[in-house]
Subunit: 284 residues, 4 copies
């Protein structure tokens, strides 16, 4: 099993930055496995992801934090240290459609996702048997306009109880309140069944069908307070023609949704995503 | 060289339709090379394209029209008869960017497009040398807000003079007036450098860049009076990442634009496109 | 639920063919929902798929066969009549990897596949719990070089018992004997984890990795006596780069395999596939 | 205009490598614009591309070479220093088909390619007018089996005369001799009209058509002494169906060939490609 540390950095770009980071890691015996960096030369920003083997590395997490702090301060870095051995805990929200959930559970089963599915929350009962087959707790929380506030309170309690790090909306058909979203910044991933920003909102397949597009899409993104407007993580498309009716759009869309959602979740769990200007940097 | 006739039909769907058409063609000795049909079962519509060899076919164009009329009337058909040997005449409108024009001219040169490029109209002079190299007349018609009406009048005159069947806007950076568009229904093809309906209007690459999309697109469509809203003929996309700056979007976009525009023009020239409900049926 | 008949035809191309078929169907009251045809003008062959509503159609299966026989004889047709209401029965063969099986079972569950998964046969026990969750009989038949003949005998017995119409090799890691294959002509679908004909045989991902390809693929095809040589039904590819190691190839490949296998199975079950010259015509 | 230096490095992977490089560049005032690295952890290899602004950089080329030598020696680096302002000189070889040549010339014209097309060599006269339109010298060197050796001698002379850095085979239909190839290691780029390693050798479209593939491809690669076996730089594919005849394969293939060849040339000219184990690392 992988036993690595990952350091994610973003800061203003400046000469000497890479040298400072590389020297720090080298001085502490890091055996770097992957390093990737990105510069936005227009905005003068610097982004880096570096992953190293913990075997032979001299610093504990606390020691790292203490000793790296002055380097970080000098360059005005925002930074995050993560450990691959520390499995993140996922809460998956579903409604009736289970194609994304089936997919996530199977990927988890075979080790594609570096995290634990801690709990599944459904506003319908449909997914309970599948959850039980995979031995994941299932919580049924119906949501109506009248009960939404209290339903979200129950969701919060469950998320707290299961110590969820990440919420995945796997074709969850309810809109979360701004208060809920605000509690989990860059920690809620949604899949929208269109090629955003085309066909924002409800019934995107129907809208795409009516517009007569020749490709349909799906988009995974972080959820922000503005509907379907958060930073895009991944998109994909498939070709359609006049021979496809609306049901074909829906069917084709399912395959896209599974792919773009699972990629987003995997990259998040592997600490590959940085945000800026409502966009994502994906270190692949 | 191909010497074929093409019959395009759309009408309400009804039993006996295919039998009636097939019997008519068989009775007149048609050797069918391609036939394709489509039914929209929701709207109860029927569409057909059939192409046959004129060798051994018993009817002239006039005779066909006379004899097919009662069949068409019985089934309330809209129909069109075309001959592959009758080359359609294209007028290509350009501004400064020539990538689509270069592409169309080369495809015409090697016989990919079954039509003649009769004239190139530019609101800048840039494309003149290329036009001359290909021995195509070039007309420079500058357009400003003040001179637009009279510029369009000159364009009309030139189109009339060259007997243009189809107008291709090859990254032509001017919006045509509704009056102009109305004169050429389903006879003006534009390429828009986005995945419509995302990023309608000006500067779609910039808008896509700011939104942080992971795929960029291009769309060819018939021009209608509503900007970027006409029936979509073809779309394609290419992957981008945080490593792509705006110039990379533009460069990648050029390849998409050439492809989707040339496909649309080819299909139009081969009488493969039918319209309904602001959508296209493409008989491929 | 759909209650339609599907007629599949292939024969030498000849004038009057479509008229004869259309007249026959019209005379018997067929309300045609979809019709598609293809001509190979080089080989002078004609292919057709027509699907009609059985409501109001005047002929039973036997009557159809009796009355259509002279039409078919006149044009030297090979033809097949199928009913959408008659669910075909699938036997799925698996080894250890379950991604294709998970996919097929879920698609069956939501009605994407017009057939029943009658039995799952594994040469390992791994898939048993999944089979049980979906309430599909699971048969464990280990295969070694020494026991292959008798294992295939047991497989035959099970296939007979379950009246399997179609065998799907869902990443089944054993090669079937020519005798076995010969019993199920055009009735065994395999998925190979490469873009055939590149990387025939064992370990295609490893071979692709060593060759340094920039796209990897997967192929679904009918099984014939020559390994990985049968008629290709569907292929798809995904982009890889130097950043992908062999494990990434395998992971990316899984998504491709599921897609190309499920499409092949769906098209087969919907009677959309015709064969000629070791190729497929897919009426989509 | 860009005025940058690019350093390409490959060497055994070792702790301290990035620190050593970063310190060297920082000490000499390099303002890094892009840096990308790759590690092959299986083979324990390290690859890096770093590009910096020459404004404010303290070392001339000679001084760089002198001062970087000990760093390079310590880590057993192979390395190359290049300057973006130094335009590389291309020789494009063509036969009759001009689609790739048209494409390269236009991309050069608008500045997509950071190099000069110094000369076009054709074994047919067809491309001469196009060369003249772009004011590029054209040399007609017919090649037959009998005259091949002397034709290659003339080609060498012309390449020497024009000081060609890179040879681009733009659908050049002659096989180069091993002696010729050996003179230009990693300096000849070819485009093959198949998805290599499928359909190596002559007539790949015909072979693909006969095999009944559902996607066709094109591949750009460095030429080595083994035909169609050199390191792959780029590949792309397009979907085909039973509706496509051989001519459609050829037509669709042309679009793929232009794209994969131009990408390869662009990356080469931007010093983005490193080779190892007969594979390419593409720093994008």
């Amino acid at each position: 099993m992988k036993n690595t540390a990952i350091l994610l950095i973003d800061c203003p770009d400046r000469k000497g930055l890479v040298a400072a980071i590389a020297n720090f890691l080298y001085a502490n015996g890091a055996n770097i496995l992957h390093a990737d960096q990105h510069q936005d030369n227009d905005l003068n920003l610097f982004f880096m992801r570096v992953e190293w083997d913990l075997e032979g590395f001299g610093l504990s997490g606390d020691a790292f934090r203490a000793e790296f702090a002055p380097v970080a301060a000098r360059f005005h870095m925002r930074w995050k240290l993560a450990y691959s051995a520390r499995k993140q805990r996922l809460a998956v929200f579903v409604s009736r459609y289970q194609h994304c959930l089936v997919d996530l559970l199977y990927r988890r089963q075979i080790g594609e996702l570096n995290g634990e599915i801690a709990v599944i929350i459904g506003n319908h009962e449909d997914a309970r048997p599948l959850a039980e087959f995979h031995r994941v707790p299932f919580e049924h929380i119906p949501v109506t306009a009248a009960t939404k506030r209290e339903a979200e309170q129950r969701q919060w309690d469950i998320l707290e109880h299961h110590q969820a790090d990440l919420i995945v909306l796997a074709r969850y058909m309810q809109v979360l309140s701004p208060e809920f979203v605000a509690r989990y910044p860059q920690r809620i991933i949604n899949v929208h069944h269109s090629f955003l920003p085309a066909f924002v909102g409800a019934r995107p397949h129907q809208a795409a069908f009516q517009r007569g597009v020749k490709l349909i899409g799906a988009t995974s993104h972080y959820v922000t307070e503005v509907l379907d407007d958060g930073p895009i993580i991944e998109q994909d498309v498939a070709r359609v023609s006049h021979r496809h009716d609306l049901e074909d759009f829906v069917q084709t869309g399912r395959d896209l949704e599974r792919l773009v959602l699972s990629r987003a979740v995997r990259w998040h769990l592997e600490h590959r995503i940085l945000l800026y200007s409502n966009k994502t940097v994906i270190f692949d």
